[in-house]
């Protein structure tokens, strides 16, 4: 990548992050009612939107800013796989236990 195009790439990622954050903040302030009544996987459509937008932001921060998408494949696996396996596992255990408290689901 030439000098100019890599600087341009950094600013493009900045604008993506800024726009996604603005969308999140606007949704958080106005809370459209149709997004609150519909549920996906036991979560409101609104909260699911927040979570998906957050994961997209995380992808851009780790991939572009932390430069992980330019590392070799094995290093990517070393970093991403433990998180991809352990975090959903942890959340699954915690939230299933919370449901035994009668609090959810």
């Amino acid at each position: 990548m030439s000098e100019n195009s890599s600087t341009r790439h950094i600013w493009i990622v900045f604008w993506i992050l800024l726009i996604l954050t603005t969308v999140e903040v606007l949704l958080g302030i106005y809370k459209p009612s149709f997004m609150l009544v519909n549920y996906i996987l036991g979560v409101t459509f609104l909260n699911m939107t927040f979570i998906i937008l957050t994961i997209i932001k995380a992808y851009y921060i780790v991939g572009a800013f932390m430069h992980l998408s330019h590392e070799v494949k094995l290093l990517k696996m070393f970093i991403v796989l433990p998180m991809l396996v352990l975090i959903p596992y942890l959340l699954f255990i915690l939230l299933v236990e919370a449901s035994f408290h009668g609090a959810i689901g």
């Binding site: 890599s6 949704l27 572009a64 800013f65």
Partner: protein
Amino acid sequence: MSDTVVHKNIWGGGIRPLFASYGKLMMWFFLMTDALTFSAFLGAYGFQRFVHADAWPIADHVFTHFPFMHGEYPMLFVALMTFILIMSSVTMVLAVHHGHKMNKKGVVLWLGLTIIGGLVFLGSQAWEWSHFIHGTYEGALLGADGSIAHLANGSVDQIMRHGKLITGQNALDFIASATEIQGANLINNEYGHPLFADFFFFITGFHGLHVFSGVVLLIIIFINVLRGTYEKRGHYEMVEKVGLYWHFVDLVWVFVFTFFYLV
């Protein structure tokens, strides 16, 4: 040495099989474990929130202040904090970028701006904490059963508790047994369940500690850049390694922002 020999001995020592230096690799592994720590904290937060769903405060009703402005502006201040941290992440990438080009002036400029961004963020967090600790002017009533209620409709015999209006003798009994509290600390929280305050102080505090140590690291390498340490060394990899840590701090904040303020 031919390509096949290199490939055969890639794990045999003498070269870097992952094409990343030891220091950079260890920074990645540290950050990966730190991400697991934070996900455990946020997972525990989610668990307790589900268990105490009825008494859990809505962040929009708690963090409504903006400096130098009267009235209620939910989300606005924390959106500004998020913007500051994303901005400081961009200046950090640009510092690393100028480091690759061995451009000392560029590194000094962008690294300096990153440090300022970090300090502004820490100041904002102190402001947010201080408002949360002092609480609202009216405060709240803490019932003998540990529940939180507010006087409703400007009267002295109607209370609002967990979103339900209570009137008459029930309300008077509650008020008689209740104590007045103001603000939030580790024991009481005028906005709702005390665990909300505990998690808020713990998670944003732990993140703030990361920001603080990040700023300290940035200042150390900033001094080294000024003294020409990396110029003499022939590369600015130290800027890159601290940069990784700094982006991680931004990454964690993105998740804290979502799960504390939005969801």
